[in-house]
């Protein structure tokens, strides 16, 4: 399930053997690296692009980035591990981010989180077995005025109540 299974197949710009879609992704990634002139200090920006393209930071992608930016692989993994935005495991089709910032917390965000956990039968940080939803907590998405909120992908759902959980999920079935 983790990206480690990809290590073997991915060392040398592995796109060649895979589908054209995959090749397009590699091209986009390579373009991003060109845009930053292979500068090692662009690592975080390049990782963002890679995660956007591939959905998560697969081991072969990480190795490719390390090589292109001339950085030791350990440095790259150190950075990925440090920042909560980066993920090394595949995410569900939709990521539900329940805000647990202060504004949402005082308005009952923990109840909303429990509601999602119950409805999806997973805990925060997990993905449903059908790969549809990942659930995670985030700290303040800057919509505290309409708290409590949750994001599904990039869509913001505001003023949530415990009953809204099912409604929100239904919209992404």
């Amino acid at each position: 399930m983790t990206s480690l299974s990809n290590v073997t197949k991915g060392i040398s710009r592995s796109g060649a053997s895979t589908a054209p879609y995959e090749q397009a992704l590699w091209q986009e990634l390579s373009a991003a690296i060109e845009f930053y002139h292979h500068a090692p200090d662009a690592l975080i920006q390049v990782l963002h692009r890679a995660q956007e393209l591939f959905g998560y930071l697969r081991e072969d992608v990480v190795q490719y980035i390390a090589r292109e930016l001339r950085l030791p692989i350990s440095r790259v993994h150190g950075v990925i591990g440090f920042y909560s935005f980066f993920s090394r495991i595949p995410q569900g089709k939709y990521t539900i981010s329940v805000c647990m910032g202060t504004g949402c917390y005082v308005k009952g965000a923990d109840q909303i989180l429990r509601g999602f956990e119950k409805a999806l039968n997973i805990r925060a940080g997990q993905t449903t077995p059908d790969g549809r939803f990942s659930l995670r907590c985030v700290r303040c998405v800057g919509a505290c005025g309409v708290a409590p909120v949750a994001m599904v992908g990039n869509d913001l759902h505001t003023n949530l109540k415990i009953d809204s959980v099912k409604k929100v999920l239904k919209a992404y079935k």
Partner: protein
């Protein structure tokens, strides 16, 4: 572009915005319709409330009624009253409609734009149902003083022309052609502006230190990390008036002899990043960024760097590490960033709101600014109001405004007949202010004296249903998660503090734990390397200071007076309210909810209850009680 061209551009752009600026031309009596502008809020909250459908509905209906030559639809930045989204304002009539849907859009077109009649039922109303026509009639707006937010909700953030119409880039022109760098710094010093990122360091002093740093390679960094959970001021400024931040950075560059700027924005703000990039592209195209700006010798350019979800990256040395593509871990200072910062070069870091204050200071003079608000921290402050308030959103008030004015006059007080209990400022580095201190003026020094901090401007109001120990535990959990792990007092200390607070909320803490908690707070404060660790004990210490009796109730009486700490609550079912729907019983993981023999009622066997609160959460009839 030259300075003269900029002035001409401003006059032209102003003309184009005359309806909005209240400089209304005499209407043409022969015209079938009045000329109007419909401003639709495109701030983060209104986008999520479905403003796209409202915009489409306006465009369609305006076209359908043949109004296209008379009415223009403008997407603006955040108006501020985020709880009323989608907010629209019709100009020049200055009428604010709230909670507008696509259907309402049609009504507004028919009645207001065609029929010249105000749609009363879509106006916001006061406590006693009195309708408010204009923003200025609403208590939420009429106590505010907008300097930083002067354009928010008025201009289209994606249009450089509208910023220019509002005297945008005039301060830059004035600085480049009428002032030498030292004079710019003098004005900032005279304004008394203090950094809005939380620390309150005098901005003019910072700029003069930077001006003296050896060049020519020096960096200006804008801190747009805004990690304090419960704060969204910087986000709104970046999304609603991005050029203002660029102009502030340009002025800093000119004043300090720096030619490169970096805007560090957190990844959680995709809309801000998008609008900033548009603003940068426009400014470059117009020659307001790049070489020889406005034909002067001064050159400056900026670049955006996106964070990746780490609160500590708001700390300046961690931020610099992150810009360099490294793990965002703080390092000891000195050397300070202005001695050795980005790539080892002198680097000056200011907050978004700090930069946003500078253009009006240069336009109107430092003396003008210094007369606003409290003498020791002059100017205005933007607060993000959230929590248990009637009106939430973004407000800007002169410093020194009291907490009471913000909570009760602007925020409309606590809804639902609840009582004000505390306001939290400064996020995980700040503290809780109890009702007894409601008359504290909000400025850097007064807040510090009562054990909180101004912080970046998050202000969260809590009512009597909030447990202060639980709130302290909440912030400590945040610090545990966000500690970068570099130094043990913070890495281990915050974890221990969190465990102790958890014990208290579970009712298993002893008096000894309570003493240890207070001692450890002092250790973490004094021994941590960076501000995160040094201020992590603040929420604990401030709640102990102002709400000691709540801690003691948990520890000595095993009671949570606010009914929050689940482990200390007894769950029971109100037999009068229970309808026998069985929902709770089906959701109880401990199977301890049973049907009462012969009745359509349920009851809880509290000896088996594991205090998960599932029954309370699911009951639709408020029949489950927790005390």
């Amino acid at each position: 572009m030259t300075l003269n061209e900029l002035l001409e551009w401003r006059d032209r752009a102003r003309k184009a915005m005359e309806l909005r600026l209240g400089e209304v031309p005499p209407s043409d009596p022969g015209a079938p319709f009045k000329r109007r502008e419909v401003l639709i809020c495109a701030g983060g909250a209104c986008v999520s409330c479905g403003n796209a459908a409202v915009i489409t509905a306006f465009r369609d209906n305006i076209a359908k009624r043949g109004l296209s030559d008379y009415v223009k639809v403008v997407e603006t930045g955040c108006v501020g009253c985020c709880d009323l989204g989608v907010v629209i304002i019709v100009m020049p009539d200055n009428v604010l409609y709230r909670k507008v849907t696509a259907t309402d859009a049609r009504t507004i077109v028919e009645k207001h734009l065609v029929g010249n009649e105000i749609v009363t039922e879509l106006l916001h109303t006061g406590e006693n149902g009195e309708p408010y026509k204009s923003p200025g009639d609403m208590p939420f707006f009429n106590k505010q003083l907008k300097i930083v937010l002067e354009n928010c909700g008025l201009i289209d953030p994606q249009s450089i022309g509208e910023y220019v119409a509002r005297d945008g880039y005039q301060a830059l022109g004035k600085a480049l052609f009428e002032m030498d760098p030292q004079e710019v710094i003098q004005e900032v010093l005279a304004s008394g502006l203090r950094g809005r990122g939380g620390g309150g360091f005098p901005t003019g002093r910072k700029w003069s230190i930077m001006a003296a740093a050896p060049g020519p390679e020096k960096y200006i960094v804008c801190n747009g990390d805004e990690g304090d959970p419960g704060a969204f001021m910087d986000r709104s400024v970046l999304e609603s008036d991005p050029h203002r931040v660029l102009e502030g950075m340009l002025l800093a560059g000119y004043a300090t002899g720096s030619h490169k700027g970096v805007l560090y924005v957190r990844a959680e703000y995709p809309l801000a990043i998008k609008r900033l990039q548009i603003a940068i592209d426009q400014a470059r195209e117009k020659g307001l960024l790049g070489e020889r700006i406005l034909g002067s010798d001064f050159g400056f350019d900026v670049e955006i760097r996106v964070g990746a979800g780490a609160f500590v990256c708001g700390e300046e040395t961690a931020l610099l590490a992150s810009v360099e593509g490294k793990r965002g871990q703080p390092r000891p200072r000195p050397p300070f960033p202005m001695q050795s910062g980005l790539y080892g070069k002198p680097t000056m870091i200011n907050n978004v709101e700090t930069f946003a204050n500078v253009p009006p200071i240069i336009r109107n003079g430092g003396a003008w600014y210094s007369k606003i608000g409290s003498p020791r921290s002059p100017g205005t402050k933007v607060f993000a109001l959230a929590g248990k308030l009637v009106s939430t959103g973004l407000v800007e008030v002169p410093t020194g405004t009291t907490l009471r004015e913000i909570v009760f006059d602007i925020g409309g007080g606590v809804p639902g007949g609840h009582q004000f209990k505390a306001a939290q400022t400064g996020g995980p580095s700040g503290g809780c202010i109890p009702a007894a201190h409601l008359d504290t003026p909000l400025d850097f020094d007064s807040l510090q004296s009562i054990g909180s901090i101004m912080g970046s401007g998050g202000l969260i109001v809590m009512d009597e249903t909030a447990c202060m120990v639980d709130v302290a535990r909440f912030f400590m959990e945040f610090c545990v998660d966000e500690s970068c792990g570099k130094c043990p007092p913070c890495r281990v200390g915050t974890q221990q503090l969190y465990h102790m607070l958890t014990k208290i909320t579970n009712g298993t803490a002893t008096e000894r734990d309570y003493q240890n908690l207070q001692e450890l707070c002092n250790v973490v404060r004094s021994a941590s390397l960076c501000g995160l660790g040094m201020t992590a004990p603040n929420p604990v210490q401030s709640t102990i200071r102002h709400f000691r009796e709540e801690y003691e109730a948990h520890i000595f009486n095993h009671r949570c007076p606010s009914g929050v700490c689940r482990k200390l609550l007894t769950f029971s079912i109100d037999q009068d309210k229970c309808t026998g729907c069985s929902l709770c019983a089906r959701n109880c993981p401990a199977s301890c909810i049973e049907k009462v023999d012969g009745l359509k009622k349920y009851t809880i066997d509290s000896s088996k209850c594991i205090h998960c609160s599932a029954c309370f959460d699911v009951c639709r009839f408020d029949a489950v009680l927790k005390v």
